[in-house]
Symmetry: C2
Subunit: 162 residues, 2 copies
DNA sequence: TAAATCTGGTTTTAAAATGCAACCCTATTA
DNA sequence: TAATAGGGTTGCATTTTAAAACCAGATTTA
């Protein structure tokens, strides 16, 4: 059967994954952030099948993560550019990159070193922070009751994370 | 043909997506962060097919995002608990949630309000920050040359993000 | 000017992934 | 003793995916 989709899910993570939660979309967005804009460039950089790339690009355009812009007077040339919504995926992509570098470092390769354009200094690890900017772990947060998360009367496990 | 996998990709985002980049894995991790630990609980909360849940749980265990723990003296009962590696996905999950809430808010629902257990105050928006903790956008960062990102001599688009 | 190339796709085909339902086995509870 | 809960596995039909071939308009190149 078909993949399940979550367009109308009450969970915003599910709705987000619906738009960028497949194997390729976030990689397309990542390369767009590195400056790639053209169909052929995406195709060659990612090594993605052309039909899949087609599908992903148009889906990202439908979801307003990218916009398709006609460029050049000669012939039909297009560019796929990030929208504000797309650029807003930045923390997610960077957090994924940092997680990958930390837990699955490439054997013979330095992790990618991203730097602040202004100061030239390495950026921070992306983290969840409290109102004052102090880092928080899973255990430090809670959801006020009446949140809409469907929970069963749990079986017999104690409710501590980890 | 088969889905493409990126186990050995030089891109850490690709390697990360290889472990948690499918339609269900991050949702499983999310619910684990909310406290879910049991097979049936995941199954009912997520509405996922049992065989797929099986597959995802064992893959997450293989990748050391979850650990499978035998509990209870009576019968074979298991719990799936987050490892440190799994808990380290916290910023990614939260960033996804915030992105979903911002750009695809649920029609009749308040966005989920996560709070610091200690102060009771709402947590911050997850962001990329420079060394001093100031927020950075895509346009504020750069990759030092010689980074291993495969780039073509770009066609004729100007290299500005967005 | 004809041939080759670039760009951005669509089509075809076969292998996987997905979802559903049914089944299995061990314990526990009614 | 029967029913139910937990944690799966199996079979099957439907989708998705990847690879490669094909296409069509514009533009170089020979």
């Amino acid at each position: 059967m078909a993949r399940k989709r979550f367009d109308d899910s009450s969970c915003s993570v599910a709705r987000a994954l619906n738009e960028v939660g497949d194997w390729w979309s976030l990689l397309v967005v990542l390369h767009a952030m590195y400056g790639t804009r053209r169909f052929v460039d995406f195709q060659q950089e990612l090594g993605i099948a052309r039909n899949i790339l087609c599908d992903r690009l148009s889906r990202l355009v439908d979801n307003e993560v990218l916009k398709k812009v006609e460029v050049g007077e000669h012939g039909s040339r297009f560019e796929y550019r990030l929208t504000e919504k797309g650029r807003d995926l930045f923390p997610i992509v960077i957090a994924l990159r940092q997680w990958g570098d930390k837990w699955n470092p490439a054997p013979n390769q330095e992790p990618l070193d991203l730097r602040d354009r202004e100061t030239g200094r390495t950026i921070r690890q992306v983290e969840v922070q409290d109102a004052n900017g102090n880092p928080l772990t899973v255990r430090d947060v809670f959801v006020p009751e009446g949140d809409g998360i469907s929970r069963r009367k749990t079986t017999d496990s104690k409710k501590t994370v980890g």
